[in-house]
Amino acid sequence: MRTATTSLEIIAPLNLPKKGRWQTISRDFRRNKHVYLMLLPVLLYYLIFHYGPMYGAVIAFEDFNPIKGVFGSTWVGLQNFQDFFSSVYFGRLIFNTVAISVLDLVFGFPAPIILALLINELRWNPFKRLVQTVTYLPHFVSVVVVVGMMVDFFARDGLVNQLFATNVAYMQSAEWFRQLFVGSGIWQHVGWLSIVYLAAIATIDPQLYDAAKVDGADRFRQMWHITIPGILPTVVILLILRMGMLMSVGYEKIILMYNPLTYETADVISTYVFRRGILQADFSFSAAVGLFNSAINFALLIGANRISRRLSGHSLW
């Protein structure tokens, strides 16, 4: 039922039949000139800073020379991609990227859902608000500070080793990297991510709970039969969209956390791009690696989006 005929449209109807397309367009531009004037800088920004690099990505197919520029450099076709696929790091980078992502999915995805369900069980509102305020807080702490605190607390003579009377150099050992990365991510963002689920819980009709109580349902049954089904659509959408990001890992934090001793488990595709491209100025090769990653992300996101739209009618666009 959408009869959204605003009075504006009555004054100036949008699509009159029998009028030429150009007339429609020119009338639209005249009527909306201020709107287009507002849109212009925004579209220019996207054109330059998002579509510009997409165009610049052609250097992945070149032997790029900064002096000759994008136009003048030698075309080498898929050579850079072949170099990457046959490099010794290829397998390790793919494995590490997926491993960190899957660990984060398995532990990091359910954590905020569980937290939201537990917060929802609290009956005393001041305590509820306190839990929320405290758990949201670390989200606002910078990643540099979080990693800085980890470097300190997980050092060989740091607080963690003092408390457990152990002697582990956590930040220098490859076998601890993933746990620390995923664990600190949960510590920092679990409260923040629970907001969405709490909002979904808040939209559940309270009469459902009343009816369940009349029928004698205890708190577990209310949670199982009302709260969880109530937030399930939100969970499914976020899960599917999360699957679309399977090959994109928060590399800014990895760059702060890792060191040559932990590359074995910590080095992912995007950190490799950063080292080869920015630090070693190997532009064409690293652009090819980055483009490969972008292409996979694109395919995963499109797939996830399509599944989400089919299952739930929700999608990113």
């Binding site: 009956r123 839990v131 702490v141 910078s142 990643v143 300190d152 577990f220 760059i255």
Partner: protein
Amino acid sequence: MVATALRPRRIRHKESSGERLFGFGTVLFLVALMGVTIYPLIYVLFASLSNAAELTQHRGLLFAPLSFTFEAYRRVLENPLILTGYRNTLFIVIVGTALNVFLTALGAYALSRRNVLLRNPAMFFIVFTMFFSGGLIPTYLLVGQTLHLQNTLWALIIPGAVQTLNLIIMRTAFQGVPVALEEAARIDGANDWTILFRIFLPLSWPVVAVMILFYGVAHWNSFFSALVYIRERDLYPLQLVLREILISSNVQNMATDVSSGDVLAIGETIKYATIIVATLPILLVYPYLQRYFVKGVTIGAIKE
């Protein structure tokens, strides 16, 4: 409806012992969770206010500063790099956030119009960038070399001028503004600029606050673009200075007047004080903005 009126406001039922145990366990768990969440920050605060020599001797948790002193803060605030870092970060936060919110509002308003022919193509043009990007290296070459923004603070402001997710949040908020208000203004001769700045922005103040918070905090906490584009130490934003002090453990220039053995001890307290100095501004404004950002997250997540 009489039946609704007679319905008791809250149906109570007697809780079983299992339920009470569960309730108690939940409270206990959440108290523990709050402890784990907040204690690291409290430890940092206490350690930053402690005597350096005593802190290195101390083992285990801290429940109060050891021999309360502002010594570490004095050294941190005398460090020229921290001061220039603060100055650069303030510039980025203020100028960057103003530009962010301005452009995001323009885009959100334009894309919330119903009778604009190019709305959907423009929306596609923008949302597509959430799915595909050219990657770090072409962006770096464009911003740093083609546009010559290398070693300028503008490299940290302009390339992120609009965040697509924030644009969508603001657009959703604008779509909720009643059409009647806009029509009344238009009859009085208002153009789109007046409608945006006099009607939409004031009416959507909570969302504007969320935008200021999201963009502002992102600028305050950002280090990666600076790592990529900034080489001159005079232009380091606070987070890059922090990275040197916290992660690369470069505290020498703040402890030049002590013997090398004490540098290590004082270095520890300097690190903690630096964390507090860099985090406090955000932690102070955060409680006041909490009620706004919950709204922002919700709008962003629940799309019509």
